[in-house]
Amino acid sequence: MVDYRTDTKALKSLFQRDRVHRDVYLDEALFRLEEERLFERAWLFLGHGSQVPKAGDYLTVTLMGRSLVLVRQTDGSLRVFTNRCAHKGAEIFSERCGNTGRALRCPYHGWSYRLDGSLLGVPMKEGYEGTRMRECEAGQGLHRVASAEHRGFVFVRLSDEGQSFQEYFGATLSFIDNMSDRSPVGELEVAGEPIRNVIKCNWKVYLENINDALHVFAAHEPSANAARAAWSDKPDDAPKPMAIEQMAPFQAGNAFMDAMGGRVLPNGHSIMGTMMSTHSTYSDVPGYAEMMRGAYGERAESILKNAPQNVILYPTLAIKGSPQTMRVLRPLGPASTLVESWAFRPKGAPDILLERSLMYNRITFSPMSLLAQDDIHVFEAVHRGLKAPGNEWVSLHRGARADEPQSGEIDTTATNELMMRNQYRAWIALMTAEPGSVATNGAGAAH
């Protein structure tokens, strides 16, 4: 048996330019290693500021098995802590969200903390006189986790080391801006709880598929055809209901999908739909373009035209500026991935934009959605199929010519599997970086 923890050469050989070894999807020990390395060093989406608007508001999130809590401070800033009492380790909050007032209080022995995480009080404190408690971890308050906020989107980096937030995401942050700017006041609001779906596949199978333009026609054809059949008796010029408008493009065909355009960026990020996407064809919302022009002037047009199919902020976030939806991957195990589908209300924009976001999540990502059923079926089929010996490699050859640049920002077609190869370059970099060094994805990230 190969021990990937100690054998860096074997770890690096799991991705070989145009193919990836099945162990990255199946191996239990590799998943544990991903938890320790990749998910520690990368920036992971945690939550959105609109979920904790007031001082003392909190949101608990379990991320890679770690219980975390996001707390709004009295000065309006945000802090992320491990949701663990410094005393004996009990989770402080067990509700998903709420308001804790001016202090956080542990339900076990009543230790309390200020909103900034510092220790406020312990019961019968004289019992600690003459002890080391204040000098030890217990006296330091809640463990703080590195976090960064961009337009209300809160990310964490679990490790104390790694790239800075700005360096790690680079130009991909502009797509968070694009989604936010779809509100005439530039602000988004999370529309309630995300829809949550657990799929029996490795997180990377799901992530690859987010920028897989070629699966659309093959895997979703029966669903797109069903939508066409249900609408077939209507005249061509009949206004399409939202469901038809959103489902019909799934049968656009491979040539359309290819022409959408793609782009890879350092650190595994990618954009599918740089030129156009199935979201480009949605009907105009009365009054919205005028509203946007009033708010942004000439820039409004470029905001509205910029509607990629999916933007992946590697490794756990994928966003769609239009409709304002987002998927968050929460890997649970080598063969279990929780997918959260979030909907956003662009503040000040017509209600129909939120309805589009809600409809899109139900049609494509809900556990009962027809399109998700197509996807879940093939993801689970991949997981079963890969277990068979005989061919241990997954092919990522499409477009992988010998002169392909190995790093940097590259524009390509939407069906080039470069977007997946780029994910594995980042994967190797994050999985093999020596402690103390900064994990980078080749030369492209070192700027």
Binding site: A191, G192, R196, P241, L354, P367, A372, E380
Partner: protein, 163 residues
């Protein structure tokens, strides 16, 4: 026979049982036919969710979207129904919550267990199904079928037929 059909409690219960039976026996066209033209099939994400607008639901489908769902299930090329997924509803006796012939509105509340068998594995869900029915052309039709799953707010696996 009366000119106006006024369903009894037994008629309402029979309707609820028959609706589940049609799903359990994969008679999707007949099931679709039970919905009124303005009928809806709804799985909210919270038991106190009063409206599907403005917040997420697992499913909220009008007759057009149900038509798409049934068209797709009728297509033998749908990979995710290979092999065909089967389901079983086990219903508690429906309670009639409201019967208002003047308003032509009948409400029943039916606790249930639902099992789905797919790829050698069984998924089990439970909850309460609330039917809002009306009489049209001498027969009951569904105005709304609302399913409150016990774990609607939880992380759900794929559900390939209809609770």
């Amino acid at each position: 026979m009366n000119a106006v059909f006024r369903p009894s409690a037994a008629d309402l219960a029979d309707f609820v049982y028959r609706e589940a039976h049609l799903l359990d026996t994969r008679q999707f066209e007949a099931w679709y036919g039970l919905f009124a033209e303005d009928g809806r099939y709804w799985l909210p994400m919270a038991p106190d969710q009063g409206d599907w607008r403005g917040r997420q639901s697992i499913v909220i489908e009008d007759k057009l979207m149900l038509r798409i769902r049934v068209e797709r299930l009728n297509n033998p090329k749908v990979y995710s129904q290979q092999p065909a997924v089967r389901c079983q509803h086990v219903l508690q006796a429906p309670a009639v919550e409201a019967a208002d012939p003047a308003a032509n509105a009948y409400r029943t509340r039916t606790p249930f267990f639902y099992a789905e068998f797919r790829h050698d594995e069984q998924l089990t869900l439970t909850g309460v199904v609330k039917h809002l029915l009306r009489v049209e052309a001498g027969a009951l039709v569904i105005v709304e079928k609302r399913i409150d799953l016990l774990n609607a707010a939880g992380a759900l696996p794929g559900i390939f037929l209809m609770p």
